[in-house]
Each structure stands twice: as C-alpha cells, then as structure tokens.
Amino acid sequence: MQSGIAERLGEPAAHYMLEISLLQVNRKRRIVPHRPRRCLIDGLDVLKMENEPCWLWTRPIRKTEIVLSNYVLALLLAFVLLGCEQQQPPGAVPHLSVWAHAGQAAERKVLEKQVQRFNVQQDDLRLDLTFIPERTYNAQVQAAAIAGDLPDLLELDGPYIANYAWQGHLVTLDDLLSRAIRADLLPSIVAQGTYRDRLYGVGAFDSGLALYARRDVLDQAEIRIPQHPRGAWTRDEFDALLLSLRDSDEDGAVLDLKLNYPDEWFSYAFSPLIQSAGGDLVRRDDYQSAQGALNSRGAVLAMTALQGWMQQGLVDPNLDDAAFVSGRVALSWAGHWDYPRYKDALGDALALVPLPDFGKGTRTGQGSWVWSITRKCSDPEGAVRFVEFLLQPAEILAITETNGAVPATRSAIALSPAYREGGPLHLFVTQLAEGYAVPRPQTPAYPVISSAFRRAFADIRSGAPVRQVLDDAVVLIDQDIRDNQGYAPVEDP
C-alpha cells in the first residue's frame, strides 16, 4: 500500500524529468515530442498531428481548469470544516461573548476577576471575555459590525453609542435594566447612554475635567481658590491670574492643557469651554447642523481665548507629560485620571478647581466606557445580569479604585473615600450630578464632528484665523449630515 503511494507520487516527478530532457533534445535537434496531443484550437478539441509543437500556440484542454477549480473548492471546504470545529457542542451551558478595551494592566485584571466571579455565581450562563487594544478599539469593533461578527456584550466609548445604535447593532436597555439600579445612576451616565430617548449603554464609571492647581503658588499670588462649580473663575479673572502667575514663572508658561494627548482629548477637553461661552459643537435641538453652534460668537470667543493663551506662551507644550508634577506650571487642565500621580507629587499643596466660567457657568466633559448589548445577543436577559452585576457598589468600587474614575451610582459614591461628600475628588461628582457636565453630542455624526473639531483645534493652535477655521469645520460637518440624510432613524430590519 505504502509503496504504491510512493510510486504514484514519484510518477509526475519522473515524467517531469523526462519532459525536460525531451525539450533539451528538441532545442538541439528541432525534434518535437512524438506523442499526439489533444489541443484546443478555436474551441475545437482536435488531435494534434505528430511533429507539431502544440504547446507553442495552443491552449491545453479545459481539464486543467476543472482540476484547478476542484482544488479551490477543496480549500474552501477545508476552511469551512475547520471553522465548524470551533463551535460549541450542543446542550452545553450557553456562552456569551464579551469584548472590552484593554486598558491598564491592573484594570484588565480587575475585569477578568469580575467575569470569573460572575461565572462562578451563574450555573446557566458563561461569559467569554476578549480584550481588544484601546487605540484601535473602535475601528476593530466597527469592522466586526460590518462583518456581522459582533459579540453578545460589548464595551463602547460613550460618544460612539449613538452611531452604533443608529446602525442598528444595539438593543435598548430600557426594558432590561432594573429600575432600582437605573434610579441610582448618575444623571450623566444616563445622558451619555441615551440616543433618541432610549438608553443603549451604561457604564460602571464616569469621567470629569478640572484644573489642578498648586495651592502654594496661588496663595503667594493672592488668588482665590474656588471650591464649588458655582464659584468658578470668570474669564477676566482667569486671564488676569494667568498673567500674574507668569510674572513669577521661570519660562512664562503657567498652564498645562495636555497638548501632548492624542485625538479625542481635544473634543473632550475643550468643547466644555465653548459650551461655557454659549456655543456648542453642533445644534442640539435637532442635530441637523453645526451652523450657529460651532461658529457662534461663544465658540469663537472660547477658541480665541485658547489661541491667545497658546500664542502668548502661557501654555506648556508638555511633551514629557510632566509639566505639572515637575513644577514647570501652576495649573493643569486635566482629567480625573491624573489625580493619583498629582497627589503623589504635590501632597497637600494640590488643589482641585473647576474649569473657568466663560459666561454660562463652568462646564466639564463627561463620558467613559459603557456596556451595550448587541442585537445578535441570544440572551439579553443574561447579558444584562452581567451589567447589573458590574453596577453593584462593590464591583463598581473594585474597578474605580483601580482606574481612579468616578463611580457611576450614588450608592457606590457614598462608599468611595475619594468621591463621597467631603472626599478630595467630590468636585467631580458635584459637576456630574448638578448639571455642569455636557455629554458629547449624542448623534451618529459624532465621529465626524469630533474629527472636524480636532483638526480645527490643531489649526487654531498654529495661529489660523479662528472664525474661518470654525466656519470650515461647520461646512465639513453639515455636508456629512446631509450625505447621511440627516441621520434619520432607519427602519428596523
């Protein structure tokens, strides 16, 4: 048997050798193969005469092509069979797939443990957790959505919820999430997760912005330190204090705007200043245009002020992300996540102050990672059990004590030493709970709006005329909204 196979394998090779030697003979003596060959001439299958070199001007019969197509088919079949092998056997405990962003190592570990704890508690459900790198997270999830490969349960960056909901990938949580938990959530969590009056995602934590200040330097310059968002520095006050701080600063740069951060930071961190001045990224009444919002007087005012600070050299470029901790600047416009590092560096000299008030009251950014259930989820009730599990105070605290974020529910906040009333970070809770936080626009156009704003910010930073740059951004945004027919809701498939 074995020798038979070897013989058959050896046959073509031997024939190949023979053919080469024949060809060599041909070249020397101009003798052609003596066997008659079947060739295809003008669609006719004819028998070649002897001594006629048919391989020079004809095409072999179609048999080769049939073999080729069989070969391709076999390959495809092999792929299909391999794919089938990975499917779970019937009758086992149902598995739900979960995708999450790969944050810091410690954060990942906590989530892994949470999934383990949940799996142990359940005997009729098992979760399979997959981490996806943070920087390309949205691109990968979007690609999976197009390919129809979304998991059952999905972590999403807050401002992208509207886009995924509009694309029809998410189920609403309105009828799934328990009322008690929903009532316990911070209003900002509900706001960011809502699209067209329906809740599509909830997070276990939220985020916030503030100015971190060096108390000793401010005291020396006799600058008052606001305690509550109500008492935020006004625009004139802020301009004046930047200049007075500069007088005693070595390099003249007194403010850190985290200009070293990438991409989304700019929309997140500086749209609140526009909103504080009465402008916005887009008109929120119907989300049909940015005209009169992104190029409004308020927006121009806010962006002109930012440009002014940067052009007067008041802002540290912060390439090393150490402008504040190394003492180069007295003020840092930053997120809640910088608190542990700043506290370590400054100790009691660290003060937390709301962002400046440009006329309509101080505003802060908000929104973070949220959990959503996809339309292809086979067991939405099971999936929401996991979301509710993550929203238990103990589980919220497990994750927020690792990533430093604001706990999502009031009961968890009450248990958090840092965020509860009187805690050093309570300002963030006040901002989120008392209406100082503005969700990034809950429209499917958000990726375009953010992209246009980022570009505008970069241009303004390099000295371009503010009004014109903002007008250009409005044109880009409005064209995209028109191209998508106003992002009107699409009929359910």
Binding site: V72, Q142, G168, S451, N484
Partner: protein, 296 residues
C-alpha cells in the same frame, strides 16, 4: 495519463500564489475603484448608491486633499534626490577598505531596522520646542547662540522639512545597502582597465561606477519615489497633517476620511488618485531609463 498530470502540475503549483494575488491584491484594488464611484459609508444602514464622479469632484474641491497632493510631490522632489545622493555617498565610503567597515554599515543601516513609529516618536522629542529641544539646542550651538528656538512641528514653514529630514535619516540606510550590493557587483577588471587607460578617481566614477550602477540606481529611485507618495507614519505620529495642512499627505487624508469620518468611498477615491499618480511616475521613470539605455 502522465501527460495530463504533467500539464496540470504547472497551474497547480502556481495556484496558491495566484489565489493570494487575486484575493489580497487584485480584488481589493478592483473594489477600491468601484467604491470610489459610490457613497459608501462605514457601517451605515443607509443603502449605498452610485454617485458617479461626485467623490472625485469633492476631493479635488477640498483644500486639504489638494494640499496633500502638493505636499507629496514636494516631498518626493526633495527627498528622492537628496536621499539617493546621501545613500550613494555612504555606499561609496563604505565600499572602501576602511577600518571598522562592518560597524559603520550596521550603524547606517540601523535606522531602517527600527519601526518607523518608534523613529517618529524619537524625532518628536528631538524637535521639541523651546531651548531644551535637542534640535534647537544643536542649531543654537552651531550658530553661536544666534538661533531663536522654534516649534518645528507646528511651524507652517518648517514642519514639512522636519519630516523630510526624519525620512531621509530613516530611509537612506536601505538605499545604501542596495547600492552597496550594486557596487560589489562591478567587476574589478573594469577599474583596472580604466586605470590603465589613464582614468583618475573621478573618471573611474563617471565612466565605470555610474554606468554600472544605473540599474541599481533607477531601482532605488523608483522605490523611494513610490514610498514618498505613500508617506503616512511620520505624519500620523509627528504632526497629524498640521499645522494648517502643511504636512498632510494623500495617505493621511485617505485614512482620516475612511476611518476617522467613516467616509470609505471618499477614502477609496483618494487611493485611486494616488494609484494613478504612482503609475504615472513609474511610467515616466521607465521611459527615462529606456531613453538613457538607447543613448548609452
């Protein structure tokens, strides 16, 4: 029977490679061309429609894209000759019997081995604004303090040259290695004969080295031009196309449109334009090379 086995074995052996070429090169490219004439948006539930040449009309009406084409052209015009000359000079130096030749070859080739993203991050630090930045400090030192510190990557005039310098530093080593291989392939007898005929070092270079290197040189020039039009990594990391589109490139615009704004059709139209430009350049260079051969 053996006859038919023999005849089908050729296509069979070629099949895996051909399949790969079709699936990963031909089909995606054909798709890009088709998509460029639609209004496809990434993940949109709205139906995709054919919109004719609308995407092309739009990208050419977009100042950022026109600037990107100009930047790519300018980049190629500056970087290709400079980088080739530098690589040739390095190759000629390292072709001689120097002490520590292997060390220097490794040194000059090292930037090629580093990932481009790493190189870009390092150069961001080199170009740091303010007097503490390495480049600013260096220029201050060589001008005896006359240099006023600049923010290179945010300066509308200096940003593109800054990226050019990074690219030349990074890319010259690769060209150098190819040219070095070309130099080693030139038979020593030619130099001997030239020396017998009384040719000096310059004469040998002009009449032996350059003609013998012509194929190698035209290859490196072609590859560098194509890479110049595909410029992306440095821009993405160092400037994000700014300030005010001073460093934006066609690839950067295409990626921004497709993945930042989910406008895949627009991105496809940009890549089709890029393909045509590269095709034209390749054609022109082949034509020039052929002219040269006929004259020689």
């Amino acid at each position: 029977v053996t006859d038919s086995i023999q005849r089908r074995s050729g296509p069979l052996f070629a099949a895996p490679a051909l399949l790969g070429l079709v699936v990963f090169v031909a089909v995606p490219f054909a798709l890009a061309v088709v998509l460029a004439f639609t209004n496809l948006r990434l993940g949109s539930p709205l139906p995709t429609e054919f919109v004719g040449a609308e995407q092309f009309r739009r990208i050419f009406a977009e100042p950022a894209f026109v600037r990107a084409l100009l930047n790519n052209t300018l980049f190629a015009l500056v970087v290709v000759p400079l980088q080739t000359l530098l690589a040739l000079a390095l190759a000629l130096l390292l072709h001689q019997r120097l002490k520590g030749r292997a060390f220097f070859r490794t040194l000059f080739f090292a930037p090629v081995v580093f990932p481009l993203s790493l190189v870009a991050v390092v150069w961001v630090l080199i170009y740091a604004p303010g007097p503490e930045g390495m480049m600013n400090g260096f220029l201050r030192a060589v001008t005896f303090g006359a240099w006023i510190p600049r923010d290179f990557l945010r300066d509308p005039v200096l940003a593109l040259p800054a990226i050019m310098l990074t690219s030349i530093w990074q890319g010259a080593g690769f060209q150098m290695v190819i040219l070095l291989a070309g130099l080693q392939g030139i038979p020593g007898e030619l130099y001997e004969a030239a020396a017998m005929d009384g040719a000096g070092r310059w004469g040998q270079f002009q009449h032996v080295t350059l003609p013998q290197l012509r194929n190698t040189l035209s290859f490196t020039v072609l590859v560098t031009s194509i890479l110049a039009f595909r410029l992306f990594d440095q821009v993405q990391i160092m400037t994000r196309g700014g300030p005010r589109n001073a460093t934006t490139t066609v690839m950067f615009e295409a990626v921004q449109a497709s993945f930042g704004r989910q406008q895949v059709a627009k991105g496809a139209a940009m890549t089709v334009v890029l393909f045509l430009v590269v095709l034209a350049i390749t054609g022109v260079q082949r034509w020039v090379a052929r002219q040269g051969r006929e004259v020689g």
